[in-house]
Symmetry: C2
């Protein structure tokens, strides 16, 4: 039975990890913009990256590095320039930054992974970046997680951090994470980034498989505006410093670790959806009765991403018709007579037809959520049943407000 508790410390909560974040002059604002996550011991790296065919140099760099070998010691992250649409020069800059950091840490460049976020089409300010690396390295500490969380954000309104702990064979195992993102691509400011650290001992293939499954149940189930970025990256390191038995197959230990990894990723993913551009609330969609989980997830994602559902929530309109219509167009076959829609605890629709319900109460439920931003009450729960299957799905989104259009229209380059 998977059990865990939330603990402080973010990415430095697991043993053997240090972190740092500083201002290096990459952001015009002078805010922190360079971050480093460092494992004191050799770690297994895994990654999930954007599927876009227009990709930043750092994404190609990480994919190549991880295909060649999983051993990883550090992740260098910059905010300010996305280093996407920068051609061959972007690649040269990426390699240059990794080599400079490797020298400063006494490592091989192959042990470094990279991530960037910021303006697309702009080269890294490579001179400032390289000049700042000695200071970045000297700032490494076991309490550096918050500095990382602050240095990787761009238009985010809040930082996103979590850490959790479970017991494996009576010894504590920890997973920590930080993330950034608010629009999938903000006004030229790219990206969702997430970094996870873990002190379990786990085989490289299994760690990569776990991470991909966790991503599919978290980051791949959130939607702010449907736009995938050029730089989306989720990177996870596991360094074995918990001194728990090595996890090499899909047994109980693996399930327990994966459950906690999924919980960490879901916490960060929900924090990104909640911080969606212009959002006033989090929309939490649960689908049950599907043929399988993939079908359930697809329906949940379609509802959470529907512009009409999102603007109805912003308008406090308990519009079951838009929820039903979004479910129907998700590409998942179901009998419309089985459709059931619930908002919070209120049943709006059953057997494919609307019920008479207390519209004032349903609207008040939405109003309360939209006024509770970043509070526990800011969540709109939509529960949909599409049949009698055992498949479930869950997805998260945010409402569509005037401010979304304002943020995205009024940023004129």
């Amino acid at each position: 039975m998977a059990e865990w508790r939330v603990i402080p410390g973010g990415v430095t909560a697991p043993r053997g990890f240090q972190a740092a974040g500083i201002a290096s002059g990459l952001k015009p604002s002078g805010a922190p913009d360079l971050a480093l996550i460092y494992s004191e011991y050799d770690a297994i790296g895994a990654g999930v990256f954007t599927n876009s065919y227009v990709r930043a140099a750092c994404v190609d760099y990480c994919r190549q590095r991880l295909e060649a070998r999983s051993n990883t010691r550090a992740i260098l992250v910059n905010a300010g320039q996305a280093n996407a649409c920068t051609g061959n020069q972007g690649w040269v800059d990426a390699v240059d930054s990794a080599e400079t950091l490797a020298t400063a840490l006494g490592l091989s460049p192959e042990e470094i992974l990279l991530a960037s976020t910021g303006v697309i089409g702009q080269r890294l300010k490579i001179d400032q970046l390289k000049a700042a690396i000695p200071r970045l390295v000297s700032n490494l500490s076991n309490e550096g997680s918050d500095a990382v969380a602050s240095a990787i954000i761009t238009t985010d309104l809040v930082t996103k951090t979590v850490a959790m702990e479970t017991l494996l064979h009576d010894r504590p195992v920890r997973i920590g994470g930080v993330a950034k993102g608010s629009g999938m691509i903000h006004p030229n400011m790219a990206t969702m980034l997430a970094f996870v650290t873990c002190d379990a001992t786990v085989s490289p293939t299994l760690w990569q498989d776990m991470l991909r499954r966790a991503a599919n149940r978290s980051f791949n189930q959130i939607t702010v505006d449907g736009d995938t970025s050029t730089n989306d990256s989720l990177i996870a390191l596991a360094n074995g410093q918990s001194r728990t038995p090595a996890i090499t197959d899909d047994g109980e230990d693996a399930q327990q670790l994966e459950s906690m990894l999924t919980a960490v990723c879901q916490h960060l993913a929900k924090a990104i959806a909640r911080d969606g551009e212009g959002a006033t609330c989090l929309i939490d969609v649960t689908v049950s009765g599907a043929i399988n989980d993939a079908a359930g997830n697809q329906v949940a994602r379609t509802i959470a991403g529907s512009s009409l559902v999102k603007s109805a929530v912003f308008g406090h309109d308990p519009n079951w018709g838009r929820i039903a219509a979004a479910a129907g167009r998700a590409g998942v076959n179901f009998d419309q007579n089985d459709l059931r829609v619930q908002l919070g605890d209120m049943l709006l629709m059953e057997h494919g037809q609307p019920l008479s319900f207390d519209r004032a109460a349903a609207s008040a439920y939405l109003r309360t959520a939209c006024q509770g931003q970043y509070l526990q009450t800011d969540t709109v729960a939509i529960k949909v049943t599409i049949g009698n299957g055992t498949g479930m799905g869950q997805a998260w989104g945010c409402d569509l407000s005037y401010d979304y259009v304002k943020i995205n229209a009024e940023y004129t380059t």
Copy 2:
């Protein structure tokens, strides 16, 4: 060589068609809400309908009728109640309305097709509808197309009509069409509907194939908000009254007819995109250099549907980065170094990297389009090249404005 000219007359421009539209009390506003398109002679019917698994009764009704036999004499359309999410009663009402019309026209119910638009979850006001049918039939005339165009709209700001004529073996052949739609699903007001009439003689299978291909190059390439409705229907009748030779195979005549059918459908589809909720302009995306047309169409559709591209246009921001990112995430493989982006006549990006261009001029181009609504100048042309292939794609959308959110959030049921 396919050539045609635009002519007046809408759906009654082809020979042997009559039409009528009246107010029957289905809309609370008292506006026209019941329409009839009638062929004086036996016609071949074809249809393309919503893929949604939550469908109106009229969609299931038409599918069944057309599967059983293509012969069709009339299309009855109501606006006011969508007759979707109405269970078995919805089906009973649909059959009842077809039978009533068949009696009034002296036809068999199997010769009638149906379409509905309006509030989801509401039954047809069947008594008012049936009571109005004699008056509807007595209003049939060869000049009734505009009355149909007005009676089928809901939240549309303008009616949408077109007719075209070509010569086959020196005899005129005509295709006419009307359509409605502005959001894919407006605040509970469903739907895109389009009706096409034609006086060519064409075999049923070929006519259905032509219609599906034309839909794929027109209505399936427009996007207002990505939401497909429960009632989307495109129905086309061909009655042979042009007295031109029967078209039974994919020869030159068929190509000429299909070219004009596609042009009629594209005209109506663009009119819907241009009338998108809150839209101030039409976005016309052309993609070239794709492996095949399907790939080109997919990239074009993704760009036209990107919330970030749409809000950039509304903000007069020549944001090539969002266009590039949308192209990249379309699920079509291409080398990002081949990417080229043009706005109007201005080249913004080449070889996957931004160029220095006149931002003021590019922004002015967008401003002019957004201020020219319903004028010839209201079109933003985005041209994207993704490689050296011969595949092309085209898609149409509209900008994302404050008014979209206003229209969709402030309609509280």
